[in-house]
Assembly symmetry: C2
Homo-oligomer: 234 residues x 2
């Protein structure tokens, strides 16, 4: 295990909003328990793990998923540099992690300690309330992200799901051109759809001029076409 904490990365997180600059480093050191390096496809948290772990991505990219009862992979979230994962679940009564977290590429993860967050050393008392409020804000944001997923998955047709997802990621990026944080297979998982059906539909949307894409880079060309009814055959 490496033990260099990228203080810059850690202290700039929203988690530390409202905490005085001079207190951040101390608090950061207090709540975390070291840096771990994971190779691509390494499992960081296994579904059912009793220990309530959390982590912050210092370098690389990770994603969380569930293996559904039908064997399919249910995509839950992706985490880029600066993102926290596991911090919401840490507080749930239910024991065991509900998801598996996997490294999408070689990644450095700053591991957080549940107990230290819940019961930090006494000197941190001043920051503590602020930290908890920030965690609440973070939870609320993740809650909102899940709500977007639900709204996407509730669309009755695949093109509706695609439209909802593309519009969401476009808005998030603040541009009609943007990258999706997953490959086709993961995108299909995210939409709860079949990969080949997704490919077919994306091709159709490109053909009618609604979108354009190359790999995981997408561009929305025409929102009306994106959401409209399908044209009659031929």
């Amino acid at each position: 295990m490496k033990n260099e904490i990228d203080a810059c990365c850690l202290c700039d997180l929203p988690l530390f909003d409202g905490i005085k600059e001079e207190e951040r480093a101390g608090l950061a050191a207090c709540i975390c328990s070291g840096v771990k390096v994971f190779k691509k496809n390494d499992i960081i948290i296994t579904e059912g793990d009793s220990a309530a772990k959390a982590g912050i991505v210092q370098k690389g990219r990770t994603f969380a998923y569930i293996i559904g009862e039908d064997g399919g992979r249910i995509f839950m979230a992706s985490h880029l540099r600066g993102d926290i994962f596991g911090e919401v679940v840490m507080f749930a009564k239910n024991e065991g992690s509900p998801v598996t977290v996997e490294a999408a590429e070689e990644s450095e993860i700053l591991m957080l300690d549940r107990e230290k967050i819940l019961n930090p050393c006494e000197k941190a008392c001043g920051c503590h309330v602020t930290l908890l409020k920030n965690l609440l804000i973070s939870s609320a944001d993740k809650f909102a992200a899940q709500r977007v997923m639900i709204a996407t998955l509730c669309m009755k047709k695949l093109c509706g799901k695609i439209a909802a997802a593309l519009i969401y990621f476009s808005r998030k990026a603040g541009s009609d051109t943007f990258n999706l944080p997953f490959d086709r297979a993961a995108f299909a998982d995210y939409l709860g759809a079949d990969r080949s059906a997704l490919s077919r539909e994306l091709s159709r949307l490109r053909k009618i001029g609604a979108i354009d894409f190359y790999k995981n880079s997408f561009k929305i060309l025409d929102r009306k076409k994106l959401c409209g009814k399908r044209a009659d055959k031929i």
Copy 2:
């Protein structure tokens, strides 16, 4: 507006776990701003409402939903006596309620005040950290409920969605016989499916002996049949 606070209802909530009996009533009075009565189909919170309201159901039943871009209703949650709603969203940066909350029947709602929760009177300082921790726990639980919805909606076939939902509500009730908190139309919304398609599938599942139901009361008879492949025709 009525002004009787059902102290029993309020104080027994998980929100007050870990807070001394003698402090509960005071804290309760401190964070809430009165009781409102709503008739069936009254709107309690409208999507987009700037005020971050929250409430506790003292009597009755409410539910939250979004009107999707395709006009369909996206079911998000239902709230029975003792349930809190809006408390997670209160902390999100994003202004405006993402959902509409509606009374499913005549309901008494204890309204909560965001500012009072975030910045309670000084004397409540001792309880404050505990209250925030409890809110974190509550957020985590709702987060988990949303994750279940996502796992349900990710099922590729309707029978899979139905199975996932029924098994979830069965486990929640701790019995193979249980009531769903919605009528057929809302159940279809919850599954992101068409109401008539849901009826058709439920009838099929009853015919093959997987489940039985009457109104919103369901019974799981055979889990294998519930999830298995469809029998060949006739």
